[in-house]
Structure formats: structure tokens, C-alpha cells
């Protein structure tokens, strides 16, 4: 009986709710009927990218006051509603106005006007807005170039250089616009749209995970085990160390990897009686090369993955074989260029005192934390690989992993918060704003147009151009801002070059930007920290020395990776 009563109650409840929905929906339908007279359309730029926040107005004549207005949405769509009491004249004009674009008027056809009079919705053809070069264009370009120069010369910390760039852009926009309208670049809200929060949170989550792992002594232990495994054969040791550094770099950031690997490598080299640079330079080059194989291996891959919607698995399947090929080439090259140093080790012998000290220092200091970090790390890897099936963003996976680790280990939260490199996060936010500015004013569009014109419909030419130009540029300018600026360009080429729709050009950018870091000492932050640590041990890595060893490595590794890309995608 009770069951029947409950069923009746449920049926009554559903009936009431259904009636309420019908009743509350009735006025809505009436409103829809009244607002049915709509003019809809979509606005794009020359690169077929939607134009956001363009002001679209409807006028009886070009000089008349607007009777309706709307702003374009993120997909470039707009919808102008026609007031029901408006007498629709014979001619109607739509005006589309947006900073950094030419104002465009569109005359609505007589047939469309008649449809509106009949109460119908009119969909207008897509409008392509033409770019307009103003003073803001040159100022934004100047700020971007200035930021790159400050980073390249080391006159300012990268974060300060990016912050200076971002605030200069705001100052120009807010203080300059009252003086001259063409000085406007973007407002604060517009600038925030360019910040990729997926990238910020992914980096932050990984920083916390790394902070837990780095204190466990894992790196030192692994490096010492490499020595043990090599049986004292230096040629084998360097190959194992390169492989180890590479694999670690594929999951952790290269700078942290090299900061932790360099001191222990110096000690191994000193114990073996060889020049530490013979181990360190191959290691850092391997770090730059193998980091490319995963989404989280390099900041440039994080940027590319987020922008291009390329998943962890995509990077693994499309780049790892090419990266392994490049690594084999790099190992052979390293064995050749340092063969004299390796030979010296076999003649000078081992220091027993130093080896004893090395064995003492290379131990796991926090085994419990390492065990927990291993479990969480494995879980994160599973989520990175399978998470895309449920649209799980990598940033969310990183945050889940970081939080799980913090809750499980219960470290000093203050220490963990300090372990997050906030300057790097601020750097990325400011960088996104500066790169957003050159995108906003149209510089990126012109670059995309230029490259598009040069490569035409030739996919191979496009692949070679993107890979090699990225590699060469990355030897002289910081690869993170370079990659961030190139993303919209690659996005455009992906849509225009036949055959590039499989994201191959994003992979070319990934290879070029990361492996290009081997071309010079300033090409990658990992190179700089390696040089910093080795210099503190009395073994300086000069710019000339690194270029002499690194640039041929760049040529070899990028060439091998290019061959793989051509095989994989053609």
C-alpha cells in the first residue's frame, strides 16, 4: 500500500512540476515570437579566426543612429534583434566596428528586408574584416621585441621583462587612448582573455609534484645506479645518463632535472677522473631532446598542447619514435666528440675515497615519500593517458595529483607553497598578455599571411620551414615566448595548408622550439642552470664551448626528428 501511495505522490509531483514548466514556458514562447525578427551572422578575420567583441549595429542609413546593436561572441557570431515597433525601412545597413580592424558597412538586400518585414530571421553571409595598422600596432610590436631583447641579453629577469611589457601595454592603452584613439591596444578584460589558465594550472600542479619528488634523493640515487650499471665504462655511463636524464625530462621540467642531475654528475665525473663537461653537456642536450616526447616534458609542449588541443597520447604516439631516433643520433655524436675525455678516464683510474663518498651521498633520503609519490605519479600517468576519453584536462590531472600528494604526505604546506615557482607563473601570465597584444593588433596575422604565402599549398615546405625556423630562432631567442607567438600562426597554417589538418605543424613547432635549445647556451634555461652549477665546480661552460658542441647536435637531432615527421605524416 505504501508503495502505491508513494507512486501516486510521485506522479502528482511530476504532474505539478510539468504543469509549472508548461505555464512558465508560455510567456517565453510569446516573447520568442515577438523577438523572432533577428539578423544573425558571423565575423571572421582574414585568417578565418572569429573576431570577438566587435560592435555590430543596425542602421536605417550609414549615417543614421543605430536602432539595434550587439557584440560578437567567442565564435564570432552576433544576433541583432529588431524592435517590434520599428517600421522597417527599404534600406538597412549593418556596421561592424572593432579596434585594429577597418570599420565595415554591409547593405542588407531588398529580399532580406522583406523577410524581416514578414517577421522572419535573416542570416547574413559571413563577413571578413580587414586589418588596420595603427600606432598601436607598432607599439605592441616594439614592446614584444623589447621583451625578447631584455630576455636574450639577461638585462632583466624573464618575469620582470614580461611584466614590464604587459604593464607598458596597459599604460599605452589606458593613458594613450584619451589622447589618441589609435593608441588603444586592449583593455584589462580583453587582455585576460589571452591568458591560458590550462597552462598556468598544469605548470603549478606539476611544480608541487616535483617539489615532493626532488627532496627524496631519487635523482642522486638513479645517477649513482647508472654509474654502477655501466661497470666503470664511461662510454656506457654517458649513454645511460643521457637516457636517464631524457626519460626524467619527459615527465619533469628540464630545469629541475638538470639542477638535480648536475651536482651528482659532477661528483661522478670527478670520482672517475674525467672532465665533468663530457657528461654534463650530453646530459643537458638529451634533456632538451627527450623532453619533447610528452605533453608535460617542456613548457613549449604544454603551450602547444593547450592551444592545439593535442593530448598526452598524441604527443607520445606522434613524437616519441622521432625523439628516440634523435636521441640515438645524439648519443653517437656525444660518444664521438668526447671520446678523448672518456679515454682519459680509463687511464687515470678511479678514486676510491671519492667513490666511497659518492655511494654514501647517493641514497634515497625519504623512501616513504618516494613510495607515495610513485603511486600518485602512476595514477597521474594513467589519467594523462586515459583522461582524454572523459575530456579530462591535463591541468585538472596535475591538480588532482598535486592535491592527492599533499593530502597523503601532509608536508609543511608553507614549504610546498614556497616550492611553487610563482615567478614562473607570473611570467606565463604576463607573457600571454604581451603575445595577446601582438595578436590583437594583427601582427600575428601578418606573419601568418607571410608564411602562408611563402609555403603556399606545399605541406613539406611548411613542415620544413616551421621545424627549422623554430629551431634556429630558438637558439637566439627564448623559446617560450617564441612558441607562444607562433601558436596562432601555426593554427592558421593548419587550416590553410592542405594535409596539415592532422596538427603536423604543431609537432614541427614542438620539435624545433625544444631541440633548437641545443644550438646555444641561451637557447634553453636548462643549459644556463647546468652552466651555473658546473661553473661553481670550476668547470665553466662558455657560450663558444656550448655552441661548438651544441649546434652540430641541433643539426643532427632536428634532421632525424624531421625525417620521422615526414615518414609519419606524409
Amino acid at each position: 500500500m505504501k508503495k502505491t501511495a508513494r507512486l501516486r505522490q510521485a506522479a502528482f509531483f511530476l504532474l505539478v512540476v510539468g504543469l509549472a514548466l508548461v505555464l512558465t514556458n508560455t510567456p517565453g514562447q510569446a516573447q520568442d515570437a515577438e523577438a523572432a525578427r533577428l539578423i544573425t551572422g558571423q565575423v571572421f578575420d582574414k585568417q578565418d579566426q572569429p573576431v570577438i567583441d566587435a560592435l555590430v549595429t543596425l542602421r536605417a542609413a550609414p549615417e543614421a543612429a543605430p536602432v539595434s546593436s550587439a557584440a560578437t561572441q567567442p565564435d564570432g557570431r552576433y544576433a541583432l534583434s529588431i524592435p517590434k515597433d520599428l517600421h522597417i525601412p527599404d534600406t538597412l545597413t549593418i556596421r561592424i566596428k572593432r579596434a585594429h580592424f577597418q570599420t565595415t558597412d554591409i547593405q542588407i538586400s531588398a529580399a532580406a528586408v522583406q523577410e524581416l518585414r514578414n517577421g522572419q530571421t535573416v542570416s547574413l553571409p559571413t563577413v571578413t574584416l580587414q586589418r588596420r595598422i595603427t600606432i598601436a600596432f607598432w607599439l605592441a610590436a616594439l614592446v614584444f621585441a623589447g621583451m625578447l631583447a631584455l630576455m636574450a641579453t639577461g638585462k632583466l629577469h624573464n618575469t620582470l621583462a614580461a611584466l614590464l611589457g604587459a604593464t607598458t601595454l596597459f599604460a599605452v592603452s589606458y593613458l594613450g587612448q584619451p589622447l589618441q584613439d589609435s593608441l588603444f591596444i586592449f583593455d584589462f578584460n580583453g587582455a585576460l582573455h589571452y591568458i591560458d589558465w590550462n597552462v598556468i594550472f598544469l605548470i603549478m600542479g606539476m611544480m608541487i609534484v616535483i617539489a615532493v619528488i626532488e627532496g627524496t634523493g631519487l635523482f642522486q640515487w638513479l645517477a649513482f645506479m647508472s654509474y654502477r650499471l655501466s661497470g666503470g665504462h664511461v662510454w656506457l655511463l654517458v649513454a645511460i645518463l643521457m637516457l636517464l636524464t631524457g626519460v626524467v625530462s619527459a615527465f619533469l621540467d628540464n630545469v629541475t632535472t638538470m639542477l638535480l642531475m648536475t651536482p651528482i654528475t659532477v661528483q661522478i665525473a670527478l670520482a672517475l677522473g674525467i672532465n665533468p663537461l663530457a657528461l654534463l653537456v650530453p646530459e643537458v642536450m638529451a634533456s632538451n631532446v627527450v623532453g619533447v616526447s610528452t605533453l608535460i616534458g617542456t613548457p613549449t609542449n604544454i603551450l602547444i598542447g593547450s592551444y592545439g588541443g593535442i593530448s598526452f597520447n598524441d604527443f607520445l604516439t606522434n613524437l616519441t619514435p622521432g625523439v628516440l631516433l634523435a636521441l640515438v643520433g645524439l648519443i653517437i655524436y656525444s660518444e664521438l666528440i668526447y671520446r678523448k675525455e672518456f679515454h682519459a678516464a680509463s687511464t687515470s683510474g678511479l678514486s676510491k675515497v671519492l667513490l666511497k663518498k659518492l655511494a654514501k651521498q647517493a641514497r634515497i633520503t625519504e623512501p616513504e615519500n618516494l613510495k607515495k609519490a610513485g603511486v600518485v605519479g602512476a595514477g597521474m600517468l594513467i589519467l594523462f593517458i586515459f583522461g582524454e576519453r572523459v575530456s579530462l584536462l591535463p591541468a585538472v590531472t596535475a591538480l588532482i595529483g598535486a592535491t592527492a600528494l599533499l593530502v597523503w604526505i601532509r608536508p609543511d604546506v608553507e614549504e610546498m607553497i614556497e616550492a611553487v615557482d610563482w615567478t614562473t607563473l607570473v611570467f606565463f601570465m604576463a607573457l600571454f598578455i604581451v603575445v595577446g597584444a601582438i595578436q590583437e593588433v594583427g601582427l600575428i596575422s601578418y606573419i601568418a599571411d607571410g608564411i602562408g604565402f611563402l609555403v603556399g599549398d606545399n605541406l613539406v615546405l611548411a613542415m620544413l620551414s616551421v621545424t627549422w625556423l623554430s629551431a634556429l630562432f630558438s637558439t637566439v631567442i627564448a623559446n617560450i615566448p617564441f612558441t607562444a607567438a607562433m601558436l596562432p600562426v601555426i593554427g592558421y597554417l593548419t587550416t590553410t595548408v592542405p594535409g596539415a589538418q592532422n596538427d603536423v605543424l604543431f609537432y614541427c613547432l614542438s620539435i624545433g622550439a625544444a631541440m633548437g635549445g641545443n644550438g646555444s647556451l641561451i637557447g634553453a634555461s636548462a643549459n644556463m642552470v647546468t652552466a651555473g652549477v658546473s661553473g661553481r665546480a670550476g668547470y665553466s661552460i662558455t657560450y663558444a664551448y656550448f655552441f661548438k658542441k651544441g649546434f652540430p647536435a641541433l643539426l643532427i637531432t632536428v634532421a632525424l626528428a624531421t625525417i620521422w615527421l615526414l615518414i609519419r605524416f606524409l
Partner: protein, 147 residues
């Protein structure tokens, strides 16, 4: 207390400095203290959040470098101590000299043009004067590159 303080960084450039310090220890029969100073200034343009971990790693690397120097001294019959400090090199040298009431400080002669190094030719004379005045130790220069 008394002794000889020898600040080293490691590498081939430090070998003559180490040799000079050992030789001086043999001559004077004073205890020898090798000093390695951890300086993390190079992190200022890259990562600032790793200071604690990297500092430990650099500390261990310093101990290792000192052990190599101590080992060299040991083979020549000189028992040497190793001291790792963190901070500014010039301040740490003076500080250690004062703690030990050191008689001598062995330094390498500069060959670098690095303007930020305290061991540029111009600054060296000032620095020697500073040590002798603040710590009362005599500075012995070798022909090698300084730290």
C-alpha cells in the same frame, strides 16, 4: 687557533692554488683548511623556488670537491680540513679567518674579466687589504685563476 685558509672552487684552475696551500702547510706546519662557498646567484635568472633542495645538492658537491683536495693533501702528508659555507665568497673567507684566527689565506690570481667577480684585477688589491685588515691573515697569491 691558527691555520691556513684556502678557498677553492674545484676544476683545473684550482689545482695550483691547492698545491700552493699544501706546500705552505708543509713549510709552516700549520693546519690547512680548504673552503668551498656555495653561491646560488646563478639561479636568479631561472628558478627561485628550488633554493632549499639545490642548496643541499651544492653543499654535497662542495664537500666532494673539498674531499678531492683533502685527498691530494693527504697523499703529500698534510692533514687538511674541509669547510663548506654558503653566502658571499669574500664575506665567508673573512668570517672563517676570524673564527680560526688564520695566519694565511691562499688565493688564486685572477685571469677573469668578469666584472662581477670579486677577484678581478682591480678589486683584488682591495680585497687583500680587506682580509689583512679584518682578519689579520696574510694573503698568499698563486699564479692560477682565482675562484
Amino acid at each position: 687557533m691558527s691555520g691556513i685558509v684556502c678557498a677553492i672552487r674545484g676544476g683545473p684552475a684550482s689545482q695550483p692554488t691547492i698545491a700552493q696551500a699544501i706546500s705552505l702547510a708543509q713549510e709552516t706546519d700549520l693546519p690547512l683548511y680548504f673552503l668551498y662557498v656555495v653561491n646560488l646567484d646563478f639561479l636568479s635568472y631561472t628558478s627561485s623556488s628550488r633554493i632549499h633542495t639545490i642548496s643541499q645538492e651544492m653543499h654535497q658537491m662542495g664537500e666532494f670537491i673539498l674531499l678531492a683536495a683533502q685527498s691530494t693533501a693527504g697523499t703529500q702528508g698534510v692533514h687538511a680540513h674541509g669547510m663548506v659555507r654558503q653566502g658571499k665568497l669574500n664575506e665567508e673567507i673573512v668570517s672563517l679567518c676570524n673564527e680560526l684566527e688564520a695566519d694565511y689565506v691562499v688565493l688564486g690570481r685572477p685571469q677573469t674579466k668578469d666584472e662581477e667577480s670579486i677577484f678581478t684585477q682591480e678589486k683584488l688589491a682591495q680585497f687583500i687589504e680587506h682580509i689583512e685588515k679584518q682578519a689579520g691573515a696574510k694573503v698568499v697569491l698563486t699564479e692560477s685563476e682565482a675562484e
